[in-house]
Amino acid sequence: MIAPRSAANVRILAIDDEPANLALIKALLLREGYTHLETLTDPRQAAERHLAFAPDLVLLDLMMPSIDGYALLDSLGRLTGKDDLVPIMVLTADTSIEAKRRALALGARDIVTKPFDVFEFALRVANLIDLRLMFARAREVSQPG
């Protein structure tokens, strides 16, 4: 169990067109103790679900049919306000350096290439959740009430 203690309330949105992968992600996250999960195979609904679900972490597959993953990454990043931080972790089968750089430049907080090691995946998710929680706590301290 790598997940932080407050993981139980963390909301994670996972977007991947491949149901098997989505199932794997879900299984892994559940195994780590994350329960508030939303999975989405149709990337066109991503923005809508993002707003409705208000996730603490987004897991995004970059290579999907019917939509440009980079454009989606960019638009999801913009959904979050400037004073907020919702990390996006990109999952991609594209191992090229260019793909990584491009994703990072567009605001991805982390990148995991598929197929990934389950331990590594869990650790990276936990790190991003930590980041999110620390940011939220810092904001509460600076803006009481």
């Binding site: 992968n21 794997l24 195994r31 089968a93 598929k114 197929p115 331990f119």
Partner: protein, 780 residues
């Protein structure tokens, strides 16, 4: 014969001589006439003078006689009368006779006359003496003299003398008359001769003039006229007849003209032959359509090639406009546009469709050249047309083939890339769930565990395959995107050995690396590592248990050669050719071979993409084992200095105070470069980057850096201002300025508190030097 030779001689005289002769002949004749006339007149005057002299002599003789006769009469009268007045003639005779006699002596030249004269003179003196005696006697005797005998004798004697004198005078006069007659005759003769001479001379002058005119005419005028006729012939290009010409100027001129005529004809002949040959060549050319256009574009000449290519025969096309050869409605405009280009540039080349007489099209290469005369006036155009339809078809076919090949290649690359991606995605699920199973079923049966392990192993093998296939596909599509930079081969080998150690240990293999610092090679570090790891892995896998791998490096033929020698069973010579082919698997050695079969072919593709070579040789020492090598180009650039050995860095880490470098720089690329350099050169350093001046000053307060690298161009504040703030607050803090502005670099920043100024692009060695110097001085 003689006349001929004279006329030859005359013809050969120079023109000056001829002119002199022509002028001199009448002139000489004239001078001769004058001389002759002068001589005749001189002779005539002398004859006349002789006549006059003779007459004078006669007069003088008569006067002597008269004087003496009168004196004698006077004396007689005196004797008779005694009157003195009768003596006057006597006195006059006494005075004049000697004078006249004397004058006669001077004039007489004839001997006979002179004899007469001397006798006359003697007689005259005798007479005068006689008279003087008479007078004397009279004076002595007085008046009566008649009766005196002396006087009578004297008179008688005087009478005798006078008679003799008269006789002599007559004789002399007779002689003088003879002489006069003779001289008169000679005078007449002379006058006649003069007339004859004058006549002859006049005749000679006439003849001479005619002769001169003849000479002039024959020697000059006629020949000049002939020359003039020759010149007309020459002008008409006719041949000149061979002629005897003489060797004077006119003759030479005629000779030269004849020569010129011959030369002219020879040249004309050569020219005509040349033109004919040229025309035949042009007309005979079959592969090129060569023809001429007038300045307006109408065809004026045509050759066989043009006929063959375009289908028009010469008589059909001459006089037609060349836009006939252009297909389409705008043929005229396009053709005239080509002509305009040729006029402007002197020459124009065009490729395009042209139309034949039968309406078929052909792809032509056309060169139009403007033809200008010496004055630069446009005289027309030459046009050379080639039918390159076949070539174009071949080119098109080639182009199509190339395009298709490219498309196929791109399609293949795309296919492989997609395939890899599509394979990776399900693999993610396979490997992921297998791992989950492995975690969740730690306590399940051995058989289950083995099965899960098999799934994971097979999945990972598949993943390796996919990665390598993708790399090969990228290389083949030329999309590998190499990042070539100077790389230290020693450091790279050391790193690869370090990574391979676990595998070597598990197989009981010893790795001996004999590679130390070497000149850097030009390579992509990541890809070089891939090759090194692959070769090392092969050398370990195909070795015998407890074997050895030795690595050597050295410069061979200007390239860095790295060799990996193992102690395995080596490669079957028959299989050497297939070594670098994809999916070639060699018989297993000590270790179980779980390679993809793509390693060597990928390594070869990578090394070749980096401009190197890779190969296999049997062991040089004849022992069992394989030797794989690769070569990479050396680079003259000095690379980033070798990083300190990782262990050394770790060991000093805890001892040394952590070095903090504050980098105030808004350009991300520059910041990354400096961070990379710092990471390698000062592994203990902590680089803090601020993209803005305000943040930079903030961090300077919080981090207490050992050194500040300050970009002069920041988004919020002027670097100048930041420097001022820094040097005011931290006077001992070294600040190294970075600027892209070469002008700004010349400002005296040191006096304003900066330690050093570096211009961008940043030269790594000078950055290192500046920072090291600044730090040394700061810590002192």
């Amino acid at each position: 014969m003689i006349g001929r030779s004279i006329s030859d001689w005359w013809a050969n005289r120079p023109l000056a001589t001829k002119g002199l002769v022509v002028v001199a002949v009448p002139l000489l004749i004239f001078l001769g006439s004058v001389a002759a006339l002068y001589t005749v007149s001189r002779m005539e005057s002398r004859a006349e003078q002789d006549v006059r002299l003779t007459i004078a002599i006669q007069n003088d003789v008569n006067e002597v006689h008269a004087l003496l006769a009168e004196a004698s009469s006077g004396v007689r009268g005196y004797l008779l009368t005694g009157e003195p007045r009768f003596l006057e003639p006597y006195h006059r005779a006494e005075k004049l006779v000697p004078q006249v006699t004397q004058r006669l002596k001077g004039s007489v030249r004839d001997f006979e006359a002179a004899a007469h004269l001397s006798r006359i003179e003697a007689l005259a003196s005798q007479k005068r003496e006689g008279l003087a005696i008479l007078l004397d006697a009279r004076q002595r005797t007085g008046a009566d003299i008649v009766g005196a005998p002396a006087i009578a004798d004297g008179l008688a004697a005087n009478k005798q003398v006078l008679d003799a004198l008269r006789g002599e005078i007559e004789g002399m006069q007779e002689r003088e008359r003879e002489l006069l007659a003779a001289r008169q005759g000679r005078l007449n003769q002379v006058r006649f001769n003069g007339l004859v001479v004058t006549g002859l001379l006049t005749l000679a002058g006439l003849v001479g003039s005619l002769f001169a005119v003849f000479l002039f005419s024959s020697g000059i005028v006629r020949r000049v006229q002939r020359l003039e006729r020759d010149a007309v012939l020459l002008a008409q290009g006719e041949a000149l007849p061979e002629r005897e010409a003489g060797r004077d100027e006119i003759g030479l001129l005629a000779v030269r003209m004849t020569e010129a005529s011959a030369l002219l004809r020879a040249r004309e002949q050569a020219l005509r032959e040349g033109e004919e040959r040229f025309r035949l060549v042009i007309e005979g050319v079959r592969d090129y359509g060569i023809f001429a256009l007038d300045p307006d574009g109408y065809v004026v000449s045509w050759n066989t090639g043009a006929e063959r290519i375009k289908g028009w025969s010469s008589h059909e096309i001459l006089g037609r406009h060349f836009s006939t050869f252009y297909p389409g409605d705008d043929a005229r405009e396009r053709s005239m546009h080509n002509l305009a280009d040729a006029v402007r540039d002197g020459r124009t080349e065009d490729e395009g469709w042209r139309i034949r007489k039968d309406g078929t099209l052909f792809w032509a290469n056309v060169v139009i050249t403007a033809l200008r005369d010496e004055a630069g006036e446009l005289r027309g155009f030459s046009k050379v047309t080639r039918d390159i339809t076949e070539r174009r078809r071949a080119q098109e076919a080639l182009e199509t083939a190339r395009h298709e090949a490219e498309q196929a290649s791109t399609a293949k690359s795309l296919f492989l890339s997609r395939m890899s991606h599509e394979l990776r995605t399900p693999l993610n699920a396979i490997l992921g769930f297998a791992q989950l199973l492995e975690l969740d079923h730690a306590g399940s049966s051995k058989a289950d565990k083995a099965s899960i392990s098999q799934i994971l192993r097979a999945g990972r093998h598949l993943l390796g395959l996919i990665d390598e296939v993708l790399d090969i596909a990228r290389i083949e599509a030329g999309k590998l995107g190499l990042d070539i930079a100077p790389v230290s081969i020693g450091a790279a080998v050391a790193e690869a050995v370090g990574l391979s150690l676990p595998e070597a240990d598990s197989n009981g293999i010893t790795i001996r690396s004999d590679v130390d610092k070497h000149s850097p090679v030009a390579a992509d570090r990541r890809r070089l590592m891939q090759v090194l790891l692959n070769l090392l892995s092969n050398a370990i896998k195909y070795n015998r248990r407890g074997g050895e791998v030795s690595i050597k490096a050295g410069v061979v033929r200007g390239r860095m050669r790295v060799e990996f020698t193992d102690t395995g069973i080596g490669v079957d010579p028959e299989q050497v050719g297939d070594l670098f082919q994809p999916f070639t698997r060699l018989p297993a050695g000590a270790a179980r071979t779980d390679g993809t079969g793509l390693g060597l072919s990928l390594s070869r593709a990578l090394v070749e993409a980096m401009g190197g070579a890779i190969g296999y040789t049997p062991r040089a020492d004849g022992r069992e084992g394989a030797c794989f090598w690769f070569e990479l180009p050396l680079t003259a650039e000095t690379g980033i200095p070798e990083p300190m050995p990782a262990r050394a860095a770790l060991s000093t880490h805890s001892v040394q105070r952590r070095l903090t470098i504050l980098l105030i720089e808004d350009n991300l690329a520059n910041a990354q470069l400096i961070e990379a350099v710092a990471a390698r050169h000062w592994p203990e350093a902590h680089v803090v980057n601020a993209m803005q001046a305000s943040l930079g000053l903030d961090l300077a307060l919080r981090q207490q850096p050992d050194l500040v690298l300050l970009d002069l161009h920041l988004p919020d504040k002027d670097g100048d201002w930041v420097l001022e703030q820094l040097s005011k607050t931290y006077p001992d803090l070294p600040v190294v300025l970075l600027t892209a502005d070469a002008l700004a670099a010349q400002t005296d920043w040191v006096s304003r508190g900066a330690t050093a100024v570096l211009t961008k692009p940043i030269d790594v060695p000078s950055l290192l030097e500046s920072v090291d110097t600044a730090l040394r001085e700061h810590t002192r």
